[in-house]
Subunit: 135 residues, 2 copies
Amino acid sequence: MNSETIFPKGKQAPRETFTNTTWLQMLHADEDGAFDTQVYNVTFEPSARTHWHSHPGGQILLITSGTGYYQEKGKPARSLKPGDVVAIRPDVVHWHGASPSSPFVHIGMSTKVHLGPAQWAGAVTDEEYGDATSD
Amino acid sequence: MNSETIFPKGKQAPRETFTNTTWLQMLHADEDGAFDTQVYNVTFEPSARTHWHSHPGGQILLITSGTGYYQEKGKPARSLKPGDVVAIRPDVVHWHGASPSSPFVHIGMSTKVHLGPAQWAGAVTDEEYGDATSD
């Protein structure tokens, strides 16, 4: 399965909250709040990643292509492959993104969005990224 | 992209609420309600479909493989292909499933699950299915 052939790659994600080149396609914006859930497809080029952040209502990731990482602040990073699911509980500070040498694609769901938007907490530095992805 | 190679096919879906052979794999059961959202992968063999049903909290489908249909009670059926997204508002009576000659795979999300489980309203008869899928 190659997600890029299923869901559009979308627009480039904002440089204020992502490091290196990442693409974001909204799949369900939930503008009137009827579902309390937003759904999107995220495509990270190799070495691209989110900044540190948390979600007041939580987030669920479904990995569909490539190799990447998920790390909670203060914990070891978890390597991710297609078929993996990550349930990120409310207010847990974390990042996700590609491995240094592979692109990475996941579907993301922001749940309980009525609790508010993501809270951003600064870039994952090259040193932090290098430590997390070397093993 | 072939979803079957990403998410496990899972167990056979209950014959009480599905017609013909369908496979169901829970991806996020949300047992403690932290996300208010359940996520699952559904694989329909050709001609397989749900019974008529509705969700008190709504449902979102992300089509990942094959060809299928979505129909709301009293409306024409909508043909579905990979990349399509269906947002089914709360309490809308509908069915989804494969075309007569193709398998069909979607990711499903049940949203606002605290409002209660799916409400089932009887099988989609062969006549209803034939009318919906002939064009």
